[in-house]
């Protein structure tokens, strides 16, 4: 896990709302190695998706501002729109949350899987279609050759997500972003799709960045995890360390709120309050209003990530202290 493929440094994405710039993602930094799964976890609206969209430069140009540095294979990317278009789908690809709507209803599935190859590799239609059938087999679609000629509405949700994965993998990207790839699927299919992603990541030596709000998914597939709250990473480290000893009270809350079959539904913990809206962020630690451990300093000082043990960082004044 030393061969870093993607480095994100101080990524800050702001949106122009009501005459002011409000950061939706602030100072996010992380590394992603080849053959590694990094999970970004957090509640809805904490900036997980915006982080990925910023890296891919998929946000609308008007009304958004992206700062910071992104390096793919050590080379800075992300200023020239045309160069980014060539990278997307070729060296970095993305899988969306909704397999039901992310495929074009009027085009055959095989053609849609073949398209990235025609766009980025310049393959002829016939060659790309052949390759598409091979990709559909790779993601475990039975009788791929005949199914390639079908339309998306003839596929189930799980099968469509497999098609999306085949599309994303067509050009063998180095980094794969998966934005809640299993949220829209039922639990048994979730496990299959996650297993497939893991296998493919390992076979191709990709870096997989998995966005999820489910700690269960994190435990199942991730090597490292980054917990995001209100646009910033509040705790990051190897999965086993975080699950065994969470430092940030927010991480703790997330872990306590995983439903477990041996407990009653009433016993599920829920963190009081809600994520503050983007234009009403508190001054100091943004988790302070909901935090059980809050001290006075939390309301004025914005905590930074401090290394607890090697590779495990947390940003909490009470638990992790301030950098010396």
């Amino acid at each position: 896990m030393t061969d870093t493929v993607l480095q994100v440094r101080n990524l800050t994405t702001s949106f122009y709302i009501g005459g002011e710039w409000h950061p939706a993602v602030r100072g996010v930094s992380f590394d992603l190695a080849r053959d590694e799964t990094l999970a970004i976890v957090g509640e809805s609206g904490c900036g997980k998706s915006v982080t990925v969209m910023s890296i891919m430069r998929l946000l609308p140009e008007a009304g958004s501002r992206i700062e910071g540095e992104i390096l793919l294979d050590g080379v800075p990317i992300g200023t020239d729109p045309e160069a980014m278009q060539k990278l997307r789908g070729d060296r970095m690809a993305m899988i969306f949350q909704e397999p039901m709507t992310a495929l074009n209803p009027v085009l055959r599935v095989g053609f849609q899987v073949a398209e990235p190859l025609m766009q980025h590799r310049g393959l002829s239609r016939e060659a790309a279609m052949e390759e598409a059938v091979r990709l559909l087999e790779l993601v475990g679609i039975p009788s791929a050759k005949s199914r390639a000629r079908e339309y998306p509405h003839q596929f189930s949700g799980g099968m469509r997500q497999r098609v999306m994965i085949a599309m994303a993998l067509a050009c063998e990207p180095e980094v794969l972003f998966a934005d809640e790839p299993t949220t829209a699927l039922d639990v048994t299919i979730q496990a299959q799709v996650l297993g497939l992603l893991e296998d493919l990541r390992h076979d191709k030596g990709m870096g997989l960045l998995l966005i999820t709000h489910s700690m269960g998914v994190v435990a199942a597939v991730a090597d490292r995890v980054a917990v995001m709250y209100a646009g910033a990473i509040v705790e990051t480290g190897p999965v086993d360390k975080i699950f065994a000893g969470p430092v940030h009270p927010y991480t703790e809350g997330l872990l306590r709120s995983i439903p477990r079959p041996d407990r009653d539904a009433q016993d599920i913990y829920s963190i009081p309050g809600a994520v503050p809206s983007i234009d009403k962020m508190p001054k100091g630690c943004r988790f302070a209003p909901r935090c059980p451990l809050k001290i006075n300093r939390c309301e004025t000082v914005d905590p930074v990530l401090v290394e607890i043990t090697p590779g495990h960082f947390a940003a909490c004044l009470v638990r992790a202290g301030e950098p010396s």
């Binding site: 998929l58 278009q85 209803p105 990235p116 766009q119």
Partner: protein, 288 residues
């Protein structure tokens, strides 16, 4: 919209259920065949004159009667179908291609491109169709090509509007975002992902406006702005018959009926298509 385009099988079924739209299709096909095989269908040449048989009423010899030059009106109507139909089809095809493309570009790129394209379309739209046509034909001179040009120009802004609205809706769909995430070029997204999704809506309008174009052509011919005589056109025949409307009403009535049939067939096709494509109407039918 996604439901209709996803289930093209259901589309054909719905279209089939509408008997009248099949009447329209058959009628239009017959008219097209007549136009294509005019030399075999017409009993006489379209400009063959005969002093002996001037202004004869309809008979077995001359189905539609004869005109002031003794020309067989049926043969003229048959050849006239060539002009009317080709003007309708060609100008709508051109208007659809150019106007549709402009509308898609305006809707897809938005911002300044949208403003520039749509405001110029508004300028074109602000003139009545006939006036625009008359100006263009007056400038370029009356000929078949110029009539097609004139009608095309009046159709372009209409198609641009019709294409822009669904483009705005489709470009927000998740699969278009997925296309951008896959790094597809704008050209690929527009041609392979947006156009197939809005094509059905445009085709409905195309069939209805073909009828319209045929009427405009007839109007031009009636005003003497169309194809020059003696080439027969339906509008021109009505114009010629107009002078003898009381002595020989058949001279105007039959070409008028031809226009009626062509327009009717296209409107029936258009209605059938629209019913088959409108999800709201479909819902009502499914419930009933």
């Amino acid at each position: 919209m996604s439901a209709t385009s996803a289930s093209s099988g259901g589309l054909v079924q719905t279209f089939n259920r509408n008997k009248l739209s099949w009447v329209g299709i058959v009628l239009f096909m017959v008219l097209c065949l007549i136009a294509i095989f005019a030399p075999f269908v017409a009993p006489y040449g379209p400009i063959d004159q005969s002093v002996m048989t001037r202004m004869r009423p309809p008979s077995m010899e001359h189905l539609f009667g004869t005109d002031a030059f003794g020309r067989d009106q049926f043969s003229r109507a048959v050849y006239g179908a060539r002009i009317s139909l080709s003007v309708g089809v060609v100008s709508v095809f051109l208007g659809m291609s150019v106007g549709g493309l402009l509308g898609v570009l305006a809707g897809y790129f938005g911002k300044r491109i949208d403003t520039v394209i749509m405001r110029s379309m508004d300028v074109l739209l602000s003139f009545p169709t006939l006036i625009t046509g008359i100006v263009i034909v007056a400038l370029l001179g009356p000929s078949l090509t110029n009539v097609i040009v004139a009608i095309t120009v009046t159709l372009i802004p209409k198609f641009a509007r019709i294409a822009r609205a669904p483009t705005l809706a489709v470009k927000e769909r998740a699969y278009i975002e997925a296309c951008r995430a896959m790094g597809f070029s704008h050209a690929r997204i527009i041609l392979f992902h947006i156009v197939p999704n809005i094509l059905t809506e445009i085709l409905v309008m195309a069939s209805l406006w073909t009828a319209n174009a045929i009427m405009i052509e007839a109007g031009f011919a009636f005003l003497g702005l169309g194809v020059r005589p003696p080439t027969p056109t339906w509008g021109g025949m009505i114009r010629e018959g107009f002078e003898h409307i009381f002595q020989a009403p058949w001279m105007s009535i039959f070409p008028g009926l031809c226009i009626l049939l062509a327009v009717l067939s296209l409107n029936l096709i258009g209605d059938g298509l629209r019913d088959a494509l409108d999800p709201r109407l479909k819902q009502v039918r499914d419930m009933g």
